[in-house]
Amino acid sequence: MKAMSPEQEAVNAVKSTIGNSVLESKVPRPRRVYIRVKPEAHRKAVSALLQTFPLTTISTITGVDLGETIEINYHLWCGKAEVTIRTNVPKSKPEIETITDIIPGASLYEREVHDLLGINFANHPNMTRLLLPESWPENSYPLRKDWNPEQTGKLSDSSEKTPTIGGVWTENNGSSLVNVVVGPQHPMLHEPERFLFKLDGEIVIDVEPRLGYAHRGIEKGAEHLMFFQDVHLVERVCGICNVAHTTCFCQAVEMLGEIEVPPRALYLRTIVHELNRIHSHLLLLGIAGLEIGFESLFQYIWRDRETVLDLTEKLTGNRVMAEYSTIGGVRRDLTPVLGDEIKRDLRKMKSRLKFYREVFQSDPTVELRTKGIGMLSREEALKLCVVGPVARGSGVRSDVRKHDPYAAYEDAPFDEVLYKDGDSWSRLMVRLDEVDESIDIITWAVDNVPSGPYRTRVPRRMPEGEALSRVEAPRGELIHYVRGNGTAYPERVKIRSPTLANIISFREMIRGCYVADIPAVLVSLDPCFSCTDRMAFIDEKSGRRWIWTMNDLKARRRTL
């Protein structure tokens, strides 16, 4: 008997449990499975998949407005294939049962769909706003096709109210229990986000992030631009991992239009993608140095990072926004001279990495501030469906380049970096080791880049259909889901960036930590935003408020 393919295995797992509720199943390309089930059967389908593949994690949930109904797509990675379980809900009664009790990691995705498409997930523990401002009017859902752009509400002061977790806190028995608001203004690099910490003295009891300060509405904006214009829009989702976004989007559109990309372009994409990863990881390691009070490390690492930015500029024309991948290939060619220069500069970088490894492995400051702090166990990491270096720091295999290869990664020689401890230190070390691996990949790609064209001409119109593309961004698995309708404009573009998957685990990590560890733990997550320059402390008993700056916080660092 022929061995069953993983795709077929996934279909059978669902069919054997709820066979009569499966309406349709298809496998359009390797490692992509779409299963349509009857309404109300989605929970059983997800459970069945989880039973057959215990390592299943949820990638995201996409809602698509089809006119009379809204289609809910649950994208799940079962370890060998990306399975999409979909069902329709009527717009007149947009309600569906939650799956958070089966997969807790779905919590934020359900809130996102609720926020932008108005789907009510019954029995969800905390069905509140995620992205849109508090002043946004009720019953106005921007991702619905019949949404009126006038319905954006007035700017009011409602978002300025002091937030609370779980209402009034009554168990105050004389100890100094406080709520701490962090953000959204910061001194340095990070995006504006707000965190509410619940503290017992110095110990963090709970945290709730408030996202949406940087929510711009790119998914809706993408529907109003043509595919080739969208490449430039999605590049600006994130300025740090921009290459991952363009590569991911171009791959999705190429799958949709069945466009053959020249092999040389695939190798060039790999080179720029890895340069981007090195720059992002070094950036983070430097910031980590800053947050643990080791500023010279920050200055050293950022000085060496300039090398990578120079190489990126020489290859793509820009330091940060590479604008390199495009539908059907890449925009510039690599000359042999530049290839040699890349190899030479990265060799130098490799010797600097030895020094940084020594610092991270043996410096007492780094050890005291990161080892054994911000723990995330393997079980929790799987349950919360975290991605990228956060997952790999807890020993979960999650490298998309290895398990769902794209571009030239199928042939590239590299190892998936895994650390088992699950503390801040492991997460930082994963990144340090990945820089090493990235240098090897680039050197290999420069040596082996095939000759030939680096770009093909593509039509502006794309056929009707859908495509789901995954890449390993510096922060983890990035997903673009693109649906075409036969015109030059996409019907729906769904983007799930890795930070949304990881931020949910911050609560698990920070519980029981000290206040002074908040910045170091948060930075080990490598969020595209971070907290803390200013904190308003509110004493629960007297209602007294006072402000601490980041420096005061650092002064309150734990003394051992």
């Binding site: 504006p192 509405g217 904006g221 600006r236 994130c238 926004m321």
Partner: protein, 145 residues
């Protein structure tokens, strides 16, 4: 030296900056941070990044203004002591492009607070931001004389 001219001299020699991102994609933000690092080293102009608006003379604003961040940006500007200056870094902070038509974006920083210097680019290179800062210093010098 009179107290007034002493103040002016101090401000020109050491403008303290606050950086706020009101919805940017981080590209401008990392270029602003790159200014602090050895290759660009903006501290040689006496520029010092501060953590709170109450200590800052210059607000470096990046990114388009989102609805959620608009009032925060205004508040931060109001908390800065007079005289205060604003540099809008990047195409988004200058005009909102390419997010101008997105539903959660109001436009450039100048929709909410007055701007003194615009630095174009996506993102501007650290050299351009440096040039923008020196332009602002020239502007302050001329205005007070």
């Amino acid at each position: 030296m009179s107290p007034v001219s002493l103040l002016k001299w101090a401000r020109l020699k050491s403008p303290w900056i606050l950086h706020f991102n009101s919805g940017a994609c981080n590209a401008c933000d990392i270029e602003v941070v790159a200014l602090l690092t050895p290759r660009y080293d903006i501290e040689r102009f006496g520029v010092l990044p501060k953590a709170t608006p109450r200590h800052a003379d210059v607000l470096i604003a990046t990114g388009p203004v989102t609805r959620q961040a608009a009032l925060r940006l205004k508040r931060i500007y109001e908390q800065m002591p007079e005289p205060k200056f604003v540099i809008a870094v990047g195409a988004c902070a200058s005009s909102g492009a390419p997010f101008k038509k997105c539903y959660n974006v109001l436009g450039g920083v100048d929709k909410v607070i007055p701007v003194d210097v615009y630095v174009p680019g996506c993102p501007p290179k650290p050299e351009s931001i440096l040039y923008g800062v020196t332009k602002l210093l020239e502007k302050i010098k001329e205005a007070e004389e």
